[in-house]
């Protein structure tokens, strides 16, 4: 299991940041991702492996209209 924004989801072996966001249907263009407290730059999302048990924060930087 991993935790994404406080919600638990089943961990999958090939989970990258990109795949986690896709699993959550997080399509917003400006998200700051932290995995276990470490910021992962957007350019690394497709390769950064998310380990089992990780705590992922995907902060959508949007404060509305």
């Amino acid at each position: 299991m991993i935790t994404v924004n406080g919600k638990q989801i089943e961990w999958e072996e090939d989970f990258t940041v990109e795949r986690v966001l896709k699993a959550m249907n997080y399509t917003f263009p400006k998200i700051v991702v932290r995995v276990n407290g470490e910021v992962v730059q957007q350019s690394k999302w497709s390769e950064f492996k998310v380990p089992d048990g990780a705590e992922v924060h995907a902060h959508h930087l949007i404060a509305g209209g």
Partner: protein, 719 residues
């Protein structure tokens, strides 16, 4: 155009004339305000006191203070003593930082019967200030349509009767610009405030503030849209306000530290140039960039806020709307705005109405137009959205309220509360674009069922109950208004914090106080009541500040600096908060910090709450929300998201939904959500320094320095 202009020119009849020496702007303030009475034609200057600057700052603060002094607790929106106050604020008019051309308009609302404020762009506010005035008070009522001209070049104010047609705002703005300008080039120095025929026939009238577009050679429009301010404007027989000021420069505000303003402006302009194309694309799409993500995250209001997404929403997606915008260059509503969110559809040819077959310019559509007029009414047709947007603007009616009104009517129609006989033949099912467009024309022209629709959701609920036997309780649940103002266009069901962000507001459910949906629902940054309450303290105060200064909110969080990724509080955009502190200090020469910034807002915000109390509102009962804003009202809503709601019942409420009927599940969910909303109110009031009934505590007002005797008296009467 020359025909109507010559007619206007030859018909001008001056009713009152006032000459003045334009004040030198000193550190963002003119030090004078202008009072115009349309009943007795009195025109006079008032001094801006130090107390006004210290406590009320400017913009909305000045508007509230003048309105407080102008009216009595028993004053109604259409009494002559009601005022429309327009004030730009001390930072308004700088040209080095994006979004700095705003004005705040304050009046007693025909929708809420209480205090309304609306933030609007265009050139009027800055030009008016540089003409020597920090605020404009319009009081009284004229006998016939009049225009107030403010000539900042000549130092002259006149009230005039002019032979004109005030029914179509886009034409009137164009004509008065031409009348006032000496040449084509001079038109950029003129700004017009006007409304339209819809403002005469509905309670949802708007004000259009113009800005002249030299490239298109036409007057464009920005709206003070919420709460029926245009209805008050036309009730006063005011056809237009016109200002002319020809000496704009980068130092017109005479700021204390121009170098700091320039440095701060260069910094954010570089950010915009570097990141906008990969962030929110404000320069390409404007606020319509929200259409696709709102649908993706189940937040786009569909069918009167029943749902948050729709399979056909692709018809009005961000990319579809982008493809309809005709300009391919940055386009802002004030000089120097690098964020340039204005968008337009040139040469659109309406298929209906008085401009059918003619080429018109449509400003927008923006997110709220497409979401409200389109998705919320089940209409996913870009042409419809563009045309409805155009007619709402030129008739002078609020796109947001109009969208929510039509959506409510459509649900009542589908539920059989009203029928074709009542609507005059309009088949107002969700998705019927033709009927919806006809209803907009009827609202704009004061015809048929449109005259009823234009009364707004709160009054429609009463009419439908009393005259057509509609169930008041059901309509209370689905009628998306609070305090009498229609909800703006976000689905808040899954964000408790945003439910408060909408209903625990001073003027009603407009998202300019707080927009916490992503922080709460998606980011899960507000897991406790206390954290939600802190957000419902901080963000309304922070956002209020824009309205004190003459600023636009968009450059705060619609462009994100690099530093934000490693910030401890990215949702606040700390680097941009510091920019605003720097701007205020650089313009005024003061030395505030980010905490004093919030205190500045807190004074005005609490004063507005007390003002609501004074007018008979402002207590807990007025912060109640329709249940549609909190959760699923009907079984079809519940079943459309059954997996989500069943999971919530099991995990959050502690009820096993297996074997329960949908009706029972709806009832259990309702009990849970309403209790949570009441708890939220308790915690928010406590954080804001208010009693359990929502009344600001006397010690809190004293701490803020707004314990004036007349304020204390109002509060004591409500304790």
């Amino acid at each position: 155009m020359s025909g109507p202009i010559e007619k206007m020119r030859s018909s001008r009849k001056v009713l009152a004339e006032y000459h003045y020496e334009p004040a030198q702007i000193e550190r963002g303030y003119a030090g004078k305000t202008l009072y115009v009475n349309l009943s007795n034609h009195k025109i006079e200057a008032k001094d801006v006191t130090q107390q006004m600057k210290d406590i009320f700052i400017g913009g909305k603060g000045f508007g509230l203070w003048y309105l407080w002094n102008a009216i009595k607790p028993e004053t109604k929106w259409n009494d002559p003593e009601n005022e429309i106050v327009i004030s730009p604020g001390p930072i308004a008019g700088i040209t080095q930082y994006p979004g700095s051309g705003k004005s705040l308009v304050v009046t007693l609302s025909p929708l809420t019967n209480s205090i309304m404020d609306s933030n609007v762009g265009g050139f009027f506010g800055p030009y008016f200030k540089f003409s020597g005035w920090d605020a404009l008070e319009i009081q009284g009522k004229a006998d016939k349509d009049v225009v107030v001209f403010i000539d900042g070049d000549q130092g002259k104010v006149t009230i005039e009767e002019v032979d004109l047609d005030p029914s179509a705002s886009h034409l009137l703005s164009e004509q008065l610009t031409e009348l006032m300008a000496d040449s084509e080039q001079d038109k950029k120095n003129v700004s017009v405030v006007s409304s339209g025929s819809g403002a005469e026939h509905t309670r949802v009238g708007i004000l259009n503030f113009s800005f002249y577009d030299l490239r298109r050679k036409t007057a464009r429009l920005k709206q003070a849209g919420r709460g029926g301010i245009g209805t008050v404007f036309r009730d006063k027989k005011l056809a237009a306000l016109v200002v002319k000021f020809s000496s704009l420069s980068g130092k017109s505000n005479n700021p204390a530290d121009p170098a700091l303003i320039a440095k701060t402006g260069v910094k954010i302009t570089r950010e915009i140039n570097k990141f906008d194309d990969t962030q929110f694309r404000m320069r390409q799409i404007g606020t319509a960039n929200l259409m696709t993500p709102m649908n993706d995250y189940d937040l786009l209001p569909v069918h009167n806020f029943k749902y948050g997404s729709h399979k056909d929403a692709v018809g009005i997606s961000s990319e579809v709307l982008r493809s309809r915008f005709t300009q391919k260059m940055p386009d802002g509503c004030w000089v120097g705005c690098a964020l340039s969110c204005c968008k337009a559809v040139d040469d659109y040819v309406p298929k209906t109405g008085p401009f059918k077959g003619e080429k018109v310019l449509v400003d927008g559509p923006e997110y709220e137009n497409a979401a409200g007029l389109g998705a919320n009414c089940g209409i996913f047709d870009a042409d419809y959205v563009i045309e409805a947007n155009f007619y709402c603007d030129t008739y002078g009616i609020d796109t947001i309220s109009t969208g929510t009104i039509i959506a409510f009517i459509m649900e009542c129609y589908e539920k059989g509360i009203i029928n074709k006989e009542i609507t005059g033949g309009l088949e107002l099912n969700f998705g019927n674009a033709e009927a919806a467009m006809e209803l907009i024309h009827q609202m704009g022209q004061g015809r048929g069922f449109g005259k009823i629709a234009g009364q707004g959701v709160r009054r429609l609920k009463k009419i439908f109950a009393e005259e057509y036997g509609g169930d008041p309780a059901f309509m209370q649940d689905i009628g998306m208004e609070n305090k009498g103002l229609e909800y703006s266009q976000y689905q808040a069901k899954e964000s408790l914090a945003q439910q408060g962000g909408y209903a625990l507001t001073n003027k009603g459910p407009q998202h300019d106080e707080a927009w916490l949906i992503f922080m709460d629902m998606v980011n899960n940054q507000l897991p406790t009541f206390e954290k939600k309450a802190e957000a419902l303290h901080y963000f309304p105060m922070f956002r209020t500040w824009f309205g004190l200064m003459g600023l636009c909110k968009l450059p705060w969080n619609d462009i994100i600096p690099e530093s934000n990724a490693t910030s401890d509080s990215p949702e606040k955009i700390p680097e941009h908060v510091q920019n605003y502190v720097d701007l205020f200090n650089a313009v005024t020469g003061k030395s505030i910090d980010k905490d004093e910034m919030i205190r500045q807002s807190e004074r005005v915000y609490n004063f507005q709450r007390v003002f609501n109390l004074r007018m008979g509102f402002g207590t807990r009962e007025h912060d109640a929300a329709p249940y549609r804003a909190l959760g699923p009202v009907t079984e079809e809503e519940y079943e459309s998201r059954q997996e989500r709601y069943d999971k919530q019942l099991k995990e959050d409420v502690g009820i096993n939904p297996e074997g329960m009927s949908t009706a029972d599940k709806v009832a259990a969910m309702r009990k849970y959500r309403q209790e949570r909303y009441e708890t939220l109110i308790d915690v928010v009031y406590k954080r804001r320094g208010w009693t359990e009934n929502g009344v600001p505590k006397l010690e809190h007002l004293k701490d803020l320095g707004i314990d004036f005797p007349e304020v204390v008296e109002v509060v004591k009467n409500n304790l």
